[in-house]
Symmetry: C2
Subunit: 463 residues, 2 copies
């Protein structure tokens, strides 16, 4: 039986098996794997063992591997000739407080029918990331059931500390690089464009985060006595911040845009066709107008273009009422979102030079660098991308869009840098899933068609 | 006996009486008139009565007038034909903590001889304002002793709440305006230029204090998701603050300098001759370079020119480490020091317009106005100024400089606005007097020559 002969049977099997798939997902959700709370360490371990047991049933050779924190489950199964893929997900979930805002207990999953007939799976982890993981696991199960084997060799890496920073995963990947240096990463922890439009997240913005502290006088001064003559660090900081962007919203730091490429025309046309409007995207948070680079579409501004934001600022008197002080110091937290090949180290240096060049006499600066990671970009000509897009289009009857994520998924960066491996980020989350919030849900459609999507993608990649 | 015949005798009497003058000052200092601490209310009342008793001995008709707080002592004595003067001072003192930093108990005054032979009176209130008040009282006493009368009609107003904001004095002056509407105010609560150079404070800067709060999104946003598109109130605030000054340190708010006159050439030459150098004035607080208007002398920047300072700013995440937030709001406290005829209301309005004109879409502003008072300027052609300068020059053998104070003495504003009366601010404090601090002192020279100075000034004004 060839793969193309098998696939329709696999998809039928998925449809027929949906109730059982749901039962397995529910069993997974019932495990209270809250990673940030030490009281749940036992539950996290039990959840890792549960995952291992599930994978063993599918013919994997699971290992529950201890770390300084919660264990990581790894498992490999042979399959068709290749490519060899590494699937990443996380079994841990967010805390559930405030508990009183949950309609039903968070670890008692259930199906809820929304007005209009839309069905959703409600429970902590329903979407993030237990439901998403299970779309992949159930696709594997269906393949095994129909063909007796996986269409390609698969290694699983299911960690338990994503919700608290993946502290132990990075060294684990580094220490075991040979084991995980495969051909392609697969990650199911992202979202669709909307309920009917599948998406592949092809870029994740990188980050440079800097804290800048300016010091002028050696003490706070009285503005009556010194005002007009003494250097004021708040004013100096404001001038520096104001100078970072020009009137068109473009960042003025020299060479900042080095490594930022224009999108391929077809990708740009696809993004344009999505017609993401400020009143829709920004309207949800009380804004109306895009405040970024004037010559860029909103969707570019938030995903495929770099950005700079001041995340915090403080200086002088900030209590009630008036105090006539000239502060001795002021500081700001300033972060840059990077794209393409922008080099975080170079950008950090360029930013620091930019600040130093603007310091007047009597003003000293100190910098604290909080984090730095380059952007991740799945090359648009990576063959797996076209295959996955085609597979998704077949399942959803609609072109799959490639989108950029404004945020970062740090481990994907390590897959690239440490393992030399690109990752395909396909997920079925929706904007209204309430991940990290009470009444988290995952659409039944996301789950069902998510399983079918992975079956199609696996078949497609194996071709 | 004419005044000019009497004056040498009065001065001799002051010299001869110095020890007794000191005893009277010490008795005044021993009274623990700490106005901010309710535990000392009885001492404050006793001090007011002490002042009244002293004035009665000099032929005044003192009254201890109750207020909602500590009483105000008023007293009038006839004298020569005029002008009628109102002398203002305050009998209350600052708290004494930290007590352990006092070398000797704060209310046990003593003479200390510093290395080099300089003698100082040590004790709480030695300078601020008991010593300064007594320079005037002792000058009056010497006149009475020699001539049997004061050289001009004098009304005294000695309050007990200056160190806690003069809360009850303003309404007192308003309610009794007819009584105090005289020809000239005299205040002894300021300083000399240096130990050998007498000074008259001819200008006090006014103030407009504004709190600006900008709001953009209706909640804090994740900068990964929204960065590049969402309006950031910290960035907007920084741009507005940066726009307030041009590259020459000049304030760009339209019509801001309306009412700011150039100094008369002779006054400017006097100020220039003082040669106040940044390394001296700013060096004491760790600064080296004047950061104000580039075409102005330092002494102008801090006293006779208006200024704008940001006194505080806050927005976004200001804790430890990194948080990728775009704040919903940011705010700053911004104050203006005013001079000449600058109108606080107009400046407040102009500033608010300046801010509003710079608000992009999706950004709302609210203002809180904390205080506003115009500058005070003794007209340089007020005849009493020339007379007092001449008198001081005779006493000190050195030209008396006219200086501006960067801060404000609010009651002097009310003398002008409510009573329509200019005030002559003459004082003998020195920069190292440690007023408000442990081991407050007043130079014996300040006290002795201060008494002599007032005798000369009274004679001069009466001419």
């Amino acid at each position: 039986m060839t793969l193309s002969e098998a696939l329709p049977k696999v998809l039928d099997r998925i449809d027929a098996d949906l109730d059982k798939s749901l039962e397995r997902l529910f069993a997974f959700i019932r495990l209270q794997s809250i990673s940030t709370d030490p009281a749940f360490a036992g539950q996290c371990k039990a959840t890792a063992e549960h995952v291992a047991k599930e994978l063993k049933e599918l013919g994997f050779d699971p290992k529950v591997r201890p770390t300084k924190g919660h264990p990581i489950v790894t498992a490999t199964s042979p399959g068709g000739p290749g490519p060899r893929v590494l699937f990443y997900g996380h079994y841990d979930v967010q805390p559930v407080d405030p508990l009183n805002l949950w309609t039903t207990p968070p670890f008692e999953p259930r199906i809820e029918e929304l007005p209009g007939g839309r069905k959703v799976i409600v429970g902590r982890g329903a979407a993030d990331d237990k439901g998403q993981i299970m779309t992949f696991v159930e696709a594997c199960r269906a393949f095994k059931a129909i063909t007796g084997a996986l269409p390609l060799p698969i290694t699983m890496m299911i960690e338990g500390e994503e919700e608290c920073g993946s502290a132990n995963l990075f060294s684990f990947v580094r220490d075991n690089a040979d084991e995980f240096k495969l051909d392609l990463g697969l990650v199911c922890d992202t979202g669709m464009w909307d309920r009917t439009t599948p998406a592949i997240t092809t870029s994740l913005r990188g980050m440079v985060y800097e804290e800048v502290t300016l010091r002028c006088a050696d003490r706070d001064l009285h503005s009556g006595l010194f005002g007009g003559a003494a250097a004021n660090p708040i004013r100096i900081l404001a001038r520096i911040i104001a100078a970072i962007h020009d009137d068109n919203g473009r960042i003025t730091i020299p060479d900042f845009y080095e490594g930022v490429a224009e999108l391929p025309a077809d990708i740009k046309a696809d993004l344009k066709a999505l017609d993401l409007r400020p009143e829709d995207f920004l309207g949800q948070v009380g804004l109306k107008v895009s405040a970024g680079e004037k010559d860029r579409m909103l969707i570019e501004q938030i995903s495929t273009r770099p950005a700079c934001d001041v995340n915090g600022i403080i200086g002088g008197y900030t209590g009630e009422g008036a105090k006539t002080v000239i502060a001795a110091q002021a500081s700001a937290k300033i972060s840059f979102r990077l794209v393409g090949d922008q080099n975080p180290d170079k950008i950090r240096d360029a930013f620091r030079s930019f600040v130093k060049e603007r310091l007047p006499a009597d003003c000293e600066v100190t910098f604290a660098g909080h984090s730095g990671s380059p952007a991740l970009q799945l090359p648009y000509d990576n063959p797996s991308l076209a295959k996955a897009r085609a597979a998704l289009a077949e399942e959803w009857g609609k072109k799959a869009v490639t989108i950029g994520s404004g945020g970062s998924i740090p481990i994907v960066g390590d897959f690239k840098r440490v393992l030399g491996m690109d990752s395909l980020l396909v997920g079925f989350g929706l904007d209204d899933d309430r991940i990290h919030s009470p009444n988290e849900k995952y659409d039944l459609t996301s789950f069902h068609k998510g399983i079918r999507s992975w079956a199609r993608i696996l078949a497609s990649l194996a071709n």
